[in-house]
Symmetry: C2
Subunit: 171 residues, 2 copies
DNA sequence: CGCCGATAGTTGACTAGTCATGCAATCGCG
DNA sequence: CGCGATTGCATGACTAGTCAACTATCGGCG
C-alpha cells in the first residue's frame, strides 16, 4: 500500500516540517533511529502542549488533573484509593497526593479515609467535577479524533504497532 | 512491503505491551486515532525517563541540562545568547535562564554579558562541561541507536514520516 | 495479646516548565 | 539628539514530577 494513502491535504498546506527543522538543528542526524526517537519526543511534546492549552482555555484545568478526574469517573461511585490512581497514571505517589490536593481545593473531588482500611484514602469525583468533565469531553474527543481525517486505519495501526515495538526495546 | 520486516525478536521476547495494558485501562479506545495519540505520548514518556535515569546515573545531570550543553558545544567557542538557546529547546525563556543558573553553579558553563550588545548574555561550555559531554556521548549514542537492531530503515523512515505528518495536524 | 514487618499516604527538598511582570539596553524615527 | 517602542533577560508565583524520609495502620505470628 502506498505511503501517503488518502492524506487529503488542506488547500494552503500547513507545511510538514521535519524534526530537524523544528529544532533549528544544523547538522543532520547520526542515524535514522536517532531521528525517529527525537521525532517521537518532539511530537509528544507538541501534542501535549496543544491539549494543555485547550484544556486550560476551556476549563482552567491541567491535562493531568483532567486525567485523574476521568479515571475517577470511570471508577464509579466508590471512587479509588490514592495509590490505585497513581498506578493508572504511571506516576510516583507523592505527585499524585499533591495533585489530588489541588483537585480537592477546586472542589472537583472529595476524599475521605476508608472505614474498612483506615490507611486508605478514597477519592471520588464530586458533582461539580462531573459537570466539568461533561463540558471537556467534547473538546478532548475532537482533539483525539483529528488524525482520523488525515490517516487511514491501516496507517494508524502501523504507527501504533511501531510505537509499541519501540517501547518494548526500552523496558 | 511487509509490516514486520526483519523484526528479529529476542529469544525470551520482552513482551510487547499495548498502551491499554500499560495504562491498566479497562475500556477500549474510542478510535484508532485516540490510541495512536496516546501511544505517542506514553512511548515518549518511557523513552525520556529511561534516558533520564541513564544520564543521572552516569553524570548526575538531567536530560535538559545535557541538551543545553550539547547545543552550546555545537555553537563553538563564541557560545550563544540565552534566547537563542531557548529557541532551540522549544521552551520559554524563564525556564532556560534558571537551567543555565544550575549549569553555571555546577561549573559546566560560563556566562558573561556581551560587549557589543549589553542586553545579551553569552553562554559557553566550560572545559569541565566538555569533559562531561565526552563521557556522556557514548551512553546517549548507544541509547539512540538501539532501534537500529529491531527496525529496518524503511520502517524507521515510515515512522518518522507519520510523526511529522501528525505534528502538522496540530500546528 | 503484643510486636514486627508490610502497606498507604504525606511531607520536604529538588528540577523543570508556564505565565505575568519588571527592567535595562538598544533601535528607530521625528 | 532624544524619547518611545522593542528586545533580552531576570524574578515571582504556580503546577508537576522525582527521591528520600516519616507516620499511621494492618496483618500475621509467636
Amino acid at each position: 500500500m502506498s505511503a501517503q494513502a488518502r492524506s487529503r491535504r488542506k488547500s494552503a498546506a500547513p507545511a510538514v516540517r521535519s524534526v530537524a527543522q523544528e529544532l533549528k538543528q544544523s547538522r543532520p542526524f547520526r542515524s535514522l533511529a536517532q531521528e525517529a526517537l527525537l521525532a517521537v519526543m518532539v511530537t509528544s511534546d507538541r501534542l501535549a502542549s496543544r491539549l494543555d492549552r485547550e484544556l486550560a482555555a476551556a476549563g482552567d484545568i491541567t491535562r493531568q488533573q483532567y486525567n485523574v478526574l476521568r479515571i475517577l469517573r470511570g471508577a464509579g461511585a466508590e471512587g479509588l484509593p490514592t495509590l490505585e490512581i497513581a498506578e493508572r497514571m504511571i506516576e510516583r505517589t507523592p505527585g499524585v497526593t499533591r495533585l489530588l490536593d489541588r483537585l480537592e481545593l477546586k472542589g472537583w473531588i472529595e476524599r475521605q479515609r476508608s472505614a474498612e482500611d483506615r490507611r486508605q484514602v478514597r477519592c471520588k469525583v464530586s458533582r461539580s467535577g462531573l459537570a466539568l468533565l461533561a463540558r471537556l469531553d467534547a473538546i478532548v474527543d475532537e482533539f483525539d479524533d483529528l488524525p482520523d481525517s488525515a490517516f487511514g486505519d491501516a496507517e494508524l495501526r502501523e504507527l501504533i504497532r511501531m510505537l509499541d515495538a519501540l517501547r518494548a526495546l526500552y523496558p
